[in-house]
Symmetry: none
Amino acid sequence: MNTDTVYSELTLKTGAKLVLLVLDGLGDLATPEQGYLTPLEAAATPNLDTLSKNSAQGRMLPVAPGITPGSGPGHLALFGYDPLEFQVGRGVIEALGLGLELKPGDVCARANFATLDAKGIVTDRRAGRIPTETCERLCAMLSAKVKKIGETQVIIKAGKEHRFVVVFRGKGLEGPLTDADPNREGLPIPIAKPRDPKKAGQKKMAKLIADFYKVALPVIAKEKPANGFLMRGIAHQPHIPLFQDRYMLKPAALAVYPMYKGLAQLVGMKKIEGPQTIKEQFERYLAEYNNFDFFFIHYKYTDKFGEDGNFEAKKKAIEELDTALPILMQKKPTVLAVTGDHSTPCLIKGHSWHPQPAMLHSAFSGSDKLDRFTETGANRGSLGIFEAKYLIRLMQANARMFDKFGA
Amino acid sequence: MNTDTVYSELTLKTGAKLVLLVLDGLGDLATPEQGYLTPLEAAATPNLDTLSKNSAQGRMLPVAPGITPGSGPGHLALFGYDPLEFQVGRGVIEALGLGLELKPGDVCARANFATLDAKGIVTDRRAGRIPTETCERLCAMLSAKVKKIGETQVIIKAGKEHRFVVVFRGKGLEGPLTDADPNREGLPIPIAKPRDPKKAGQKKMAKLIADFYKVALPVIAKEKPANGFLMRGIAHQPHIPLFQDRYMLKPAALAVYPMYKGLAQLVGMKKIEGPQTIKEQFERYLAEYNNFDFFFIHYKYTDKFGEDGNFEAKKKAIEELDTALPILMQKKPTVLAVTGDHSTPCLIKGHSWHPQPAMLHSAFSGSDKLDRFTETGANRGSLGIFEAKYLIRLMQANARMFDKFGA
């Protein structure tokens, strides 16, 4: 029997309020250079410390041992979806990152402006990294000219420098396709082909891409240096069961960065717009407390400073969140989980495979008798090291949302 | 999506050097008789201690909770192959243990000399445990008489006392067969039959076994007490994907005992012959450093003394390895894993199911702030308790051999 089915059959509706507080890229490494302390250990966190005394701790594998996740798989796991089963294409993630609101069935592609010679050979895959303003102007030109291909709507949105995203919205479209990108200079733009030629949706999509090139290339043919473009990661938004149906919880997302809003929307969470700081996010949680059962609150800066390798700034970002935490606790949720979507160690300056620490606080979490919430403490907690996709199940259990299994 | 496929698709080629140092049967139990110390805890291990400060620790399940592995499954797991998926027959393991070099498709059988009465009834399944010299003489007689059956080559090799191994090398042979062994006295030798009568290779093999009995039994018919023999575990060498293809690492094995060389060869590792002590093994590693990417270094004595129930000797064996460790560290590998293939507690005098401790050392392993490498310390490490088959994936991750999964 499938575990998800078991959970689903045991789920009870309660009035519980669940909060998932994600400090993006929270996990880190203890190194001799920093006196064997991680940023979380070095930070002054009186409010997390208080919670810790009455919490359970553990560490979470975002995907599988040794695998470093991107933000997509990292968050899908936190939302309780197996990231190996529910894979989201690069085009979709890019579109979400640019703030595009996707609909089920949308096919997205990452695109680059590029330079072509007279014979159509790619001479610069990034068109000399044109300024963002140029990219925006070119995208506006393309958007003005190509609004539809047949019955399919075409949405074009500029990103940074030479990057943009194209979304195809219509019936019966499907990915993935091969890339319309030679992946190196000196070759023409290859034709995007169905990965599975038996699938009608992929064949239809391949024809759409070809048609798009036919109408779009002439629009920018006289531009210099960006007289062409490449398309990659052409895939549709996967079918993902709705969060609310799966967990019997009405979910809201309090995130500042577009990608995380987008990932939350992918599973059907309601985006709450407005708050820009963690203090404002917590205040908005108080205001919305009665309107939702589940709050996903996303804090970006731990990841950002981890990516910069800036230990002090990551530490301070944790302290800033800790300082704001009493606002959240004014309306104590039934269950509060504090964790990351993955580790972003300052030493690595990027995402990593190291299990992120997790703390689970509820009237029924028990106490692991740990004075602080840290990586080292979490190693010794009662939750052990577990797959991140189970965190939400533990939150539901702590909210008494599961009936007994068997007699 | 299959996890092995994910790992495989994410694998990058790097110049990393990975060392898997296996102290066979390392894990042990803390008992009041030994002041609640395991041999690893009681041993003086200054060099392992130094490594420990900058390492991650955990404990590994060789197969599944409560399952005690033989050396075959124990090592297959360490080499990253699921021991429940890749099962190696007893005949193959015995052949490897006797130093026979097997080829893909070889069918191996464990055999015993036995005593038969005039009617062919087995009266002693072990022929009174004849001396090894007698066994060697009888095997030589059989080898001289039975070199081939049809197109199939027959290789006979004596083991200890009444034990020997028969290898059939030819085309289209397949196991497993039922045993040609009544498993008790008072019955005749049963005919070995295909486990799956639909498989042509098994049928062919069953006929070969019957033919082998026809020509071999008369050769020793006048012997006393060993005038017969039994055959068990008749199976072919399983198809195992090559280590080098699976991990993009060129592997070498530095082992002294034939079985471990054989297990390494089974996955396509290059056997390095010569070294007899751990010091010599480490020195040879230095000499071969540039020729391989992955070194499996096997140390037998921790298991041997565990099997003897000799706590002091096991402790000293650990100390001897620790003393030699600085030789290895003259050329620091990118990643060093120190562990066992299973536990062999002195209390049990045999292999056991207790998870073995593992220590992972690299520039990116982080520090679990443990001053020593011990069973109790490993319980508190950031690796948690995990399936042994993932160790190599963690080694690859620490060598930065995996691309990010998803965007």
